[in-house]
């Protein structure tokens, strides 16, 4: 597998804020890669460095082997970016917008491909409509179309589903997944953890400009216990001492992290022995959210140097 995107010790400072504190990542061709992190973690700054919108203070980035600074023309030809903000040029129709964007990338007579993208994004009927007249969801899809006019092998989606309704989100993911299956490398930043879990093969988590976790989605999920058991006892009884040490309390609920379902039986037996009456009991599968919260808490103050 060759490298689609190489990010090497990239640093960026905005006044006193250290947005990126030496980020290194390698993303292979054909990967579906997730970039997660709380607001202000540096996700968008990192993507902007890759796209040439922000100039890094130190380090280097390349797209398909082309440095984004010294060889920017070749790098940008291979990169399609869907920006986070819902931006559009109010002077033009959808088709004009896409033709102009094609021209910027040096492509004439791109209408066959434009028609194909429009069909895939369910925009065919809006092709001649002015951008101003489109709904937010449609504008979002035009942004995706604009990022694809030059058939880039690497596609970056910066929170593409923020504020997008469920139906459109599903349709968008179907399309992006198909692009990925066709061999495109996809990089996704998102706040919806279940989205990253469902789509991404590998995930990097950013916090305060540092990569705090980097692994396959499967390994990250395996790193947290299999299930979480949540129970409430009737009459606010205390837990039997044998169990108290294993549980954490939150809002009158006791929370147990289980490595497997076979731990449930001994737990219930201990409760019976202590004459505890269960009021409510819930069992949930651990998901990326648990991983995320765990990583964000554990990496706490280790990287406070940037402030």
């Amino acid at each position: 597998m060759s490298v689609a995107v190489a990010i090497d010790r990239v640093e960026k400072r905005f006044a006193s804020l250290r947005a990126l504190a030496g980020v290194s990542l390698q993303i292979a061709e054909g990967e579906f890669f997730g970039l997660l992190g709380p607001n202000g973690a540096g996700k968008t700054t990192l993507i902007s460095c890759l796209a040439g919108l922000v100039r890094p203070d130190a380090g280097a980035l390349s797209v398909m082997g082309h440095d984004v600074v010294t060889d920017y023309r070749e790098a940008r030809r291979r990169l399609g970016v869907v920006p986070q903000e819902l931006v559009f040029d109010p002077f033009f129709s959808v088709r004009e917008t896409l033709r102009i964007q094609s021209g910027y990338f040096g492509i004439r007579k791109n209408d066959d491909w434009i028609d194909e993208i429009l069909a895939n994004l369910d925009l065919t009927s809006k092709a001649e409509v002015n951008m101003r007249r489109l709904s937010g969801g449609m504008k979002r899809r035009v942004l995706v179309a604009q990022a694809l006019v030059h058939k880039p092998p690497v596609i970056v989606l910066d929170e593409p589903t923020a504020g997008v309704d469920v139906e459109l989100r599903q349709g968008l993911w179907q399309f992006v997944r198909r692009l990925n299956q066709d061999g495109h490398t996809v990089i996704l930043t998102t706040h919806y953890l279940e989205e990253a879990e469902a789509l991404c093969g590998r995930i990097a988590m950013l916090k305060q400009g540092h990569v705090v976790a980097l692994d396959t989605t499967r390994n990250l999920l395996a790193g947290v216990a299999g299930q979480t058991l949540q129970l409430r006892l009737a009459g606010s009884q205390p837990l039997p001492p044998a169990l108290g040490a294993r549980a954490t309390e939150s809002d009158g609920n006791w929370i147990f992290h289980l490595a497997g379902l076979d731990e449930i039986e001994p737990l219930l037996a201990a409760l019976r022995e202590g004459n505890c009456v269960i009021d409510d009991l819930r069992l949930t599968q651990s998901d990326l959210e648990d991983v995320f919260l765990g990583v964000m808490q554990n990496s706490g103050s280790a990287h406070e140097d940037g402030r």
Binding site: V87, F91, Y104, G106
Partner: protein
């Protein structure tokens, strides 16, 4: 020149052409109003360089409007796409900063030319105009539009808000273009203001442009051309340095 440059230029021209009623039609009407009012009042009393006032005024109005509109074109396009965020569509593609510069400046020149031609077309029958040296006419309006288009780029890149740009336009560009001999020959000014006018590059654009029509001017057209070319080179160099550094565009 790359396809990217050609497309950006095309897009910039299309942008103002789609609203040409406002970007070309309106300045033509404004110039026509100036001409009707001033020539009505002054035609029978005033001659400048031996030319009837109405005829004297037309070339001045043509280039003043061309200059103002060239400035308006690049500056408003840039501030609009900065404020709305759509500038990102131009920053993501493989377009060099030189191509970026040329596309905006040439589009501004073309808007200036179109406004100028429009004004000439509607004012021609008001006064007897001569075209003694058409090449000079074309040269001064093109270079003048280039200078103002470039200044418009600087203003558009620098301004973060529309009112900052309006300030630049109303307090710098307007007085600079209005007080540069559009309505008078600077020889009619007190000596001090004559001297001040000679430090205003816009004066040379207008004076040289008018020479192309009548063959007479306040200063020799070669001097005007030298000043205008030097000004163009200077503002272009400054803008290219700005663009190269990524100032306010690529942080």
């Amino acid at each position: 020149m790359s396809r990217g440059f050609v497309t950006l230029l095309y897009k910039e021209v299309l942008r103002f052409w789609k609203v040409s009623f406002q970007t070309v039609g309106a300045p033509v009407l404004t110039a026509l109003l100036y001409l009707m009012i001033f020539s009505h009042v002054l035609e029978s009393h005033v001659q400048v360089h031996g030319v009837p006032y109405g005829a004297f005024l037309i070339p001045g109005l043509v280039i003043m409007s061309a200059l103002q509109n060239a400035f308006a074109n690049s500056s408003s396009s840039l501030i609009q796409s900065k404020v709305t965020g759509s500038l990102v569509f131009v920053l993501l593609p493989p377009i060099s900063y030189v191509e970026f510069f040329l596309a905006y400046v040439v589009a501004a020149m073309l808007r200036g030319l179109m406004v100028g031609v429009g004004i000439l077309a509607v004012t021609l029958w008001f006064a007897p105009l001569t075209f003694v040296a058409p090449l000079w006419i074309l040269l001064f309006i093109t270079l003048g539009g280039g200078i103002m288009g470039t200044l418009g780029m600087i203003a558009g890149i620098w301004a973060d808000k529309f009112d900052q740009l309006a300030g630049f336009q109303n307090f710098l560009i307007m007085p600079l273009t209005m007080l540069s001999g559009v309505f008078y020959s600077i020889h009619s000014l007190p000596e001090f203001w004559q001297l001040v006018s000679r430090f205003n590059p816009v004066f040379y654009m207008i004076d040289g442009f008018r020479f192309g029509f009548f063959g007479v001017s306040d200063v020799a057209p070669e001097i005007s051309l030298t000043v205008v070319m030097a000004s163009f080179l200077a503002v272009s160099a400054a803008t290219l340095v700005l663009l190269r550094s990524g100032y306010k565009l690529r942080s």
